[in-house]
Amino acid sequence: MQPVIRITDLTKTYAGGYEALKAVNLEIDRGEIFGLLGPNGAGKTTLINIVCGIVTKTSGTVLVDGFDNVSDYRETRSRIGLVPQELPTETFETPLNVCRFSRGLFGKPDNPEHIEKVLKSLSLWDKKDQKMMLLSGGMKRRVLIAKALAHEPDVLFLDEPTAGVDVELRQDMWNVVQSLRESGVTVILTTHYIEEAEQLADRIGVINHGEVIIVEEKTKLMRELGKKELVLHLTDPLAGIPTSLGDFELELSDGGCELTYHYDTKRDHTGITSLLAALHDAGIKFNDLNTSQSSLEEIFVGLVHKDS
């Protein structure tokens, strides 16, 4: 099946000379929920804004439903809904009016029933005639989601949808995302919380310094994330791994002075105790040890620490 979005060799250099995207390649499947994970400044918003037409690309191509997003922008943009990271709102307008406006702007004829359904699904119906400036931040975000859904997009971008959002809205939002998925809408959300991607996404892409590092099924990625390694600094170098240690996933390096053991923190038995016992039995001594995480997890840990 043709991917709903195909991004090829996409680069972006901002006017100041900053290279925000470096040859990004990405395919989004129809109907999936895709989590784009990356730290602040990684290029998530830049990527989304290019697809939506808000930022101009430097090179590369973006296809939406097979249409080029520059030469066939009417086709691509009418299929896309965007909920931006910031919360810009029309101060003096009402939720009902801005939704009507969005729907028209994206080329759809008036449909009060649809707008009513969208506003109700986001618990906004009783606020529909209030001036936006009187609404709280959470309510404004709801309105922005409602606006994006007002024109019935096939693809919905949620840029950091839960940054500074209360539990109730988060729940409403998850429900909306789930029901969108059931109706066949593709949802792409960016976040720097692993948990968020973990809860919702079918697939996860990790972006850092303008490069997509990895794209993987969530379940597979979660297994990867569990991997850790234990490094033992041996007192006397080994020529090879003794056969008595053959059951363990071991690697010898640094001229036989370093022994690395790969294990899975999510398994019931990490095997560390029995490895140490086996080393003792084989008479192998070590003077230091340290554990480290696989590089992917380092990125994640970096992300999580940055924001908690």
């Binding site: 808000i54 691509t76 009418s78 810009p88 029309e90 009016n97 406006f101 606006k147």
Partner: protein, 253 residues
């Protein structure tokens, strides 16, 4: 063509005008009436007729032009500057619309307001003086042409301005002097010859002259020249906006 988008923008902009009806309509009517009382009645009573037209009647076309020029610029510059300033413009930039729809919506609404204001001022003026319109069709053509052109100009200004200061400084420092010196309150022929020549470099002279011609058939420059100037100005603004949307100047990063 995305007609629903044009309608959505136009409808929203017109609704904005209705919300601020005092500011949008009452204010220009009031200020024009004041000009009338001061220049038309108080001072004008001491001025003899100009080319066979009483001074009060003479200034009517100029006053209408003055109002629709400033109103067009301020309405459409604000209409596009505010979303840019608040960030809501992201939606316009991500929508399946070309500059044609955006212009028809925003500039169409701003120009509609101006034409309405122009007609209201004309009606207000007719309470003070007797006004004859010799060429109603040409009068209307000028009214629409100038409203549209200056709304386009305001749109460009709103896109270009990156602060409130810039937004207000151009109307005050450029447009207002040119309008006041453009023959709103006098005929260019009343100036010393040297200043008459200088005045011919002021494009607004041609616009006001042409509009006044449609009322009283007297003009500072030939009517064809006035029409030509109006159309040139309109075309220049259109080209500038086409370029803005093509390159994303000040709109897209």
């Amino acid at each position: 063509m995305n007609y629903n988008a044009i309608r959505a923008i136009y409808r929203t902009e017109m609704a904005r005008m209705m919300r601020t009806v005092v500011q949008s309509i009452v204010a220009p009517v009031l200020s024009t009436s004041l000009y009338f009382v001061i220049f038309g009645a108080a001072i004008g009573s001491r001025i003899t007729e100009i080319d066979g037209v009483s001074y009060g009647a003479f200034i009517v076309p100029g006053l209408i032009m003055l109002s629709i020029m400033t109103e067009s610029i301020s309405n459409s510059s604000f209409a596009i500057y505010f979303p840019k300033f608040s960030g809501t413009i992201f939606e316009l930039l991500s929508a399946p619309v070309s500059f044609v729809e955006v212009l028809l919506g925003y500039v169409g609404a701003a120009a509609t307001k101006s034409v309405i204001i122009g007609v209201i001022i004309l009606a207000t003026a007719s309470f003070f003086v007797t006004i004859e319109v010799a060429h109603p069709a040409i009068m209307l053509l000028f009214l629409v042409l100038i409203s549209v052109s200056f709304s386009l100009f305001g749109f460009i200004l709103g896109v270009w301005a990156d602060g409130w200061e810039k937004l207000t400084i151009v109307p005050i420092l450029v447009i207002m002097p040119l309008t006041f010196l453009g023959g709103t309150f006098y005929s260019i022929s009343m100036l010393p010859p040297a200043w008459q020549t200088v005045s011919l470099f002021n494009p607004i002279v041609y616009l006001i002259s042409g509009f006044r011609w449609s009322f009283y058939e007297n003009a500072d420059v030939a009517i064809g020249l006035s029409l030509g100037m109006a159309i040139t100005f309109l075309s220049l603004c259109l080209i500038a906006i086409w370029w803005i949307f093509k390159t994303g100047y000040k709109l897209r990063n």
